[in-house]
Symmetry: C2
Subunit: 143 residues, 2 copies
DNA sequence: ACCAATGATTGGTGACAACCTACAATATTT
DNA sequence: AAATATTGTAGGTTGTCACCAATCATTGGT
């Protein structure tokens, strides 16, 4: 009775949408237990992987509106995970850096996400998981 | 500059979430050109694939709150794509059936979605697309 | 006949994401 | 010097989504 219409499951776009939504939902739920949100991890990852950003760079990289970057950074700095300092060369800009505590927090979030990912991909063996990752990466690189 | 942090792209859960979101967004955009939404297609598909439903059955199958089913069906019936008739055996229930116009509309939505899917999966060859579909199906079947 | 359960319906709520405007400070161009 | 552009910031709007409570009609059981 709870079967899903084959007309829908025959569409890869439908499966992508649905599976993606549950993935997003579960990650959000697990992070939410510690009052964290998805973009906490995204921003910390951007700062950790690519070094300091201005706020506009951060927003551009992650596809977030500059005004929303402000609010997000307010939380990150309040938590001691990122620091805002004025760029001496261009005092309009803010130089955002991740703190050691921020890196530690990021590592924790990544671990949590990986644990959850294991549950989500339970029906797949290691080879299949790698294959899925590869395929998704190809699609992802072409927005 | 618009590169995505490798810390994130290394997570399959992140890719699923992101790719799923763009898939959902694009389908919504294309359907939206004709003032259609995602659940229009879902409901019509459920009715077409499994025959008449009561509204509660519909909601249970698609994971939609019964009260939202009411609102959605209001639109479907207004468009002439579904019909509500009282179940003579149990006059509490509403027997929902899809009309021929509804089937035609569904076919159009499926075609649109498939066309869009071709764009989305452009980086993959046919064999890879089939493989991706298979893998997603396995993950999807295990919620 | 009465009572509890079920189905449909109405009318909300709260969370959240995406976006937009206005503005102050600073830089750049003319 | 003056005009223009960029950056961060504050504040608000919008739409969507999922969910909830109350209500009414109908059914089935006792």
């Amino acid at each position: 009775m709870t079967d899903i219409p084959p007309t829908l499951t025959a569409l890869t776009a439908y499966l992508l949408s649905k599976v993606g939504k549950t993935a997003r939902g579960r990650v959000a739920a697990r992070l939410g237990e510690r009052d964290l949100r998805f973009w906490h991890m995204s921003m910390l990852a951007a700062l950790a992987d690519f070094g300091p950003h201005s706020q506009r760079e951060l927003g551009a990289r992650l596809g977030i509106d500059p005004s929303d970057v402000v609010k997000a950074l307010d939380e990150l700095t309040a938590a001691g995970w990122a620091e805002r300092t004025r760029d001496p060369a261009d005092r309009r800009k803010v130089r955002v850096v991740v703190t050691p505590e921020g890196r530690a927090a990021l590592a924790g979030m990544v671990r949590d996400t990986e644990a959850l990912q294991d549950e989500l991909l339970a029906p797949l063996n290691p080879r299949e998981r790698a294959r899925l990752h590869d395929l998704l990466l190809k699609v992802f690189d072409r927005p």
